[in-house]
Amino acid sequence: MKELPNFESQTRPDCAVIALNGVTREYSGHGSIVRALGDATFSIVAGEWVAITGPSGSGKSTLVNLIGCLDRPTAGELKIDNIDVASMTATELDRFRADKIGFIFQQFHLIPYLSALENVMLAQYFHSMTDEREALASLERVGLGKRANHLPSELSGGEQQRVCIARALINNPPILLADEPTGNLDAANQTIVAELLQELHRNGHTIVMVTHDPEMAGLAQRRIALSHGKVFCHPVGGPVVTIRR
């Protein structure tokens, strides 16, 4: 096992689509301060597939929050597409998130009363304006063109996850942020989704994937392990970065 001191040796900062430099996130409450993420420094280049791993409570959600622009760091610099998001207002962050991040969730999170097509259009709605043709094309891309008018309850888990991926892709975001994308799927559907992510990666998408699944993590080029400051696994297709809390 090898612990690497900083990201400079592993990535090219000039190509970094995500760059964290000394990012810390602390929460205060009940008279004490809890450090959820401490002094995180690494970067992810455009087109890279990175797996973030670590046990529960290791700060994965905090990191996803920050990279997904759902939260801002307490200290440090966080750049997405070369823009420092730490100084953005909440409204700017909402706009930025809609432009830059496509979310893929473990539990799919489709709106139950909207069809597959409308669920995809929902991301367009909050981004700019809805376009049925584009949304349908996005569903066809994940192999669900014929299921466009079905409600989530009429789709299998795998199909729902593919709708979720189509929704994440619809606004052409530079970053796909996948949080346990196969955590709720059976083996057959895991394979389908894994292949889909691989295809997206081949097409040049940057994928940041939180996962507990070693097989899924193995698909990534690089693994970022979150623990109590120690590297606990070797890199798969790339170096491991350890985030110290």
Partner: protein, 365 residues
């Protein structure tokens, strides 16, 4: 062509959660319905209560000075001063003797006017002809033949047909009434009292008294104090009661709507968190939620207005025996009340929305 609009999403959301939506709609409808019913009744309350009080008879008594009877045009002047919707009847009194030798107060009046003025009098049959008399319940015992009433005044006898009996529980029970023309022709005594009933509250009665005193300075004009004050107190207390009822119901409904809207937000926290993750701003999410509360409030007002108006009609018909028509004028007040309830009830859920942590919620934590 499929369009995804805010209104469309709102409609689908409300239909999808139909039980929750219905529960909120019922609460808002109850609020609007009760407010409409009470405000509609409230708008008509004065008129209805004053109409009820009219059945208690005169609220002003005009008496001639001790030295002279009323002038012949006194009644016309009183009616002119009191207004066209006032009721008035003049009375002349004398003490006569019955065929049994018992002194009895006899009165002359216009029965048609008295019938309208004193609708509370219990009369089994009103006199129709000029030679017919109305016998007070006790006075009937002073005459030998109730069908043929023989009276004498200052040596002048008169025989009248007893048309019916009168029961009031007051002095009237000891009197015998006859048509004014018959009375004046028999006794030569002119009217000395005018009983007047003015519709309206204390202020109206006092204003009428002032006008009468000005127009008829030689006469004594007195309010029937107990009636006027009693009416005023009852009207004021009923107003206060209705205000209190509206506030109490509004508060109860607000708590119910608060619970419903809070549950609605709590069970959809993940939907809102997802929308936030997709780029929805705080303002957009709160706007969606408040629009939902607004739609429910307005739908509640529409349904509640009709239901409340129907309830007001039924209550009015049952209690006052007259219909109360829907008052469009109460609609803005009901709308404001329902919007205030919805806004108040939405405060807590909006706080929940502000504190949403999408990453944790979408992770299922």
């Amino acid at each position: 062509m499929i369009k995804l609009s805010l209104i469309g999403m709102l409609r689908r959301s409300l239909v999808h959660r139909r039980a929750r939506s219905l529960s909120a709609l019922i609460a808002m409808t109850v609020s609007a319905g009760v407010a409409t019913a009470l405000l509609t009744l409230y708008a008509d309350l004065d008129a209805k209560l004053h109409k009820e009080f009219r059945s208690f008879g005169a609220n002003i008594v005009i008496t001639a000075p001790a030295t002279a009877p009323l002038q012949t045009d006194a009644l016309a002047k009183v009616k002119q001063a009191a207004g066209s919707d006032a009721l008035a009847a003049e009375f002349a009194y004398a003490v006569a003797t019955t065929d049994q030798g018992t002194p009895v107060v006899v009165g002359g009046t216009d029965f048609a006017a008295v019938k309208r003025l004193n609708s509370w009098w219990q009369v089994d049959a009103w006199p129709q002809g000029q030679d017919e008399a109305l016998l007070g319940q006790r006075a009937a015992g002073f005459v030998t033949d109730k069908k043929l009433v023989r009276l004498t005044f200052a040596g002048h006898p008169i025989t009248l047909q007893g048309a019916g009996h009168l029961r009031t529980g007051g002095d009237e029970d000891s009197r015998i009434y006859m048509p004014l023309a018959t009375f004046t022709g028999w006794t030569g005594v002119a009217p000395t009292v005018i009983e007047l009933q003015v519709p309206g509250g204390t202020a109206t009665v006092e204003a009428t008294i002032s006008r009468l005193k000005q127009d008829l300075p030689e006469m004594q004009v007195q309010p029937v104090r107990q009636l006027v004050e009693g009416e005023s107190k009852i009207v004021d207390r009923t107003h206060a009661l209705m205000y209190g009822a509206v506030l109490l119901i509004a508060l109860t409904v607000a708590v119910s709507v608060l619970a419903t809207l809070s549950a609605s937000v709590l069970e959809r926290r993940r939907d809102f968190a997802l929308m936030k993750a997709l780029g929805g701003s705080q303002m957009q999410l709160m706007g969606m939620f408040l629009l939902e509360a607004l739609v429910l409030a307005i739908a509640g007002v529409v349904v509640g207005f009709f239901a409340g108006s129907a309830a007001a009609w039924a209550i009015s018909e049952g209690n006052f025996h007259t219909a109360t028509l829907p008052h469009l004028s109460v609609l803005p007040l009901v709308l404001i009340l329902n919007l205030a309830i919805a806004a108040m009830a939405a405060l807590f859920p909006v706080r929940v929305l502000r504190g949403l942590q999408p990453a944790a919620l979408l992770k299922g934590e």
